[in-house]
Symmetry: C2
């Protein structure tokens, strides 16, 4: 299926015509992670994100009980406009569904969080290869020994994604991503993985392993899995997220992320 | 009085030995605006700040009821460690006091917000003159016709500060401040003030007027008065702030603000 605009993607999701991953759809536009929590948990979660802006770059927070977005995709409906959702109760995955209209609560608050798809598009545009895209697999992700700053009921280790590259490419990637703070910003580490508590690059905690070739160094970015993992660890009564890879396609171009989103 | 460290300044405030403005004290260290609100108002306020990062760059949010800071000045006590406070009830200024130990409530949440003192230090270090510092007066500030993004009970126009400079200095100032997002980041306008609803530069809404000389253009930065003004307009039952110019002196060096604070 071919989509002319982010709005078309969201409409297809709403109509039940698209329920697959969104990678590569409308590639010039930013995609976003979703987390929905009851209002009682929302302030602590936003504090956690504020205190940890690299793993948790918040793009928009919805009004309590209002499923419609105003900023990143005006008019989009959080209940229907993503292709697939996961439902967690007490920190346990209990369901995966195509919409959450039946589950919506008057006290729900939605959080849209930046996604590394945006900076990968910028890296590719600068002719910096992205290994997992070349290989057609998922990016490797690892739990580190770097603690996030705790906030209220939320705490946990930072999760990172890894992309291998040559030193000169790593330098340019740092220059590029340092300007893209809405999508994790500059890396948090490069080189020796053991220094951040990663014992084996071939065994990622999430995603797929990729080879680090001769002369390349692994470069580690804070990852959008971090806030969800921290939130789930605190076992809220209910939390709804997008299903992995099934993101909200926003109306923000990747270039617009250079502004203060 | 001469202080060796931010800790010494805070200790002098706590002991009642310093109750004056903090401009110029420990100039290598960031100073911060303070806003304290009851927990019931805190989520909306943090959402407002998140949605308006240029005027409202949040450095730290405290735990509910806990007056001690953890990040920007570990161990600092919000009740005593600023030189002077203002107390507002229902949006009206009702008192100015030297400490708030008697007023502290179990549901209070403190917000520390970045201050332009930090980027002015960086401008001066780059030999970009800062007119109001040269003249020994307060920076001129103006209400604009640029609406902030509303969030919950909070809304209002953006307030800006203005510094006149030559075009090449303005360009360099944009380069410098764009990296300092924790203290308002890049300007939001330059040139014709009427385009953002300012009718007369000689009549600032806050602070003092400064001359714009031949060949200079006015450059406008989002101002830390914005979040307080928006919060006060929504008339919370109680809100406590620092008294203007009587800031928290933090342990963060201005250079550390380049990280993700």
């Amino acid at each position: 299926m071919r989509f002319d605009s982010p709005r078309d993607v969201r409409h297809a999701c709403r109509m039940g015509k698209w329920s697959s991953v969104t990678a590569g759809l409308c590639g010039d536009y930013a995609q976003a992670n979703l987390a929905i929590l009851p209002a009682d948990w929302a302030f602590d979660f936003l504090r956690f994100c504020q205190a940890n802006p690299k793993p948790c770059p918040v793009l928009e927070v919805t009004d309590v009980g209002n499923p419609f977005l105003r900023l990143v995709a005006p008019g989009a409906d959080l209940r229907t406009d993503l292709p697939r959702y996961r439902v967690y109760r007490q920190g346990e995955l209990v369901d995966e569904v195509l919409d959450i209209a039946e589950l919506w609560q008057d006290d729900f608050v939605g959080f849209l969080i930046g996604c590394s798809f945006s900076f990968e598009a910028e890296l590719l545009a600068a002719n910096i290869p992205v290994r997992h895209i070349e290989l057609g697999c998922n990016v490797p992700m690892y739990r580190t020994n770097i603690p996030c700053r705790p906030a209220g009921r939320f705490q946990g280790p930072m999760v990172v994604s890894m992309r291998p590259m040559l030193a000169n490419q790593a330098i340019q990637a740092i220059e590029i991503t340092s300007r893209l703070r809405a999508v994790h910003g500059a890396p948090i580490h490069l080189g020796d993985p053991s220094l951040i508590g990663i014992s084996d690059l071939d065994k990622p905690d999430y995603g797929d392993p990729v080879p680090v070739r001769q002369g390349e160094i692994p470069v580690f970015w804070a990852c959008g899995v971090t806030p969800q993992a921290a939130a789930l660890a605190s076992k809220p009564p209910i939390m709804i997220t997008h299903a992995p890879g099934h993101m909200l396609v926003t109306d923000l171009s990747n270039v617009e992320l250079l502004k203060d989103w």
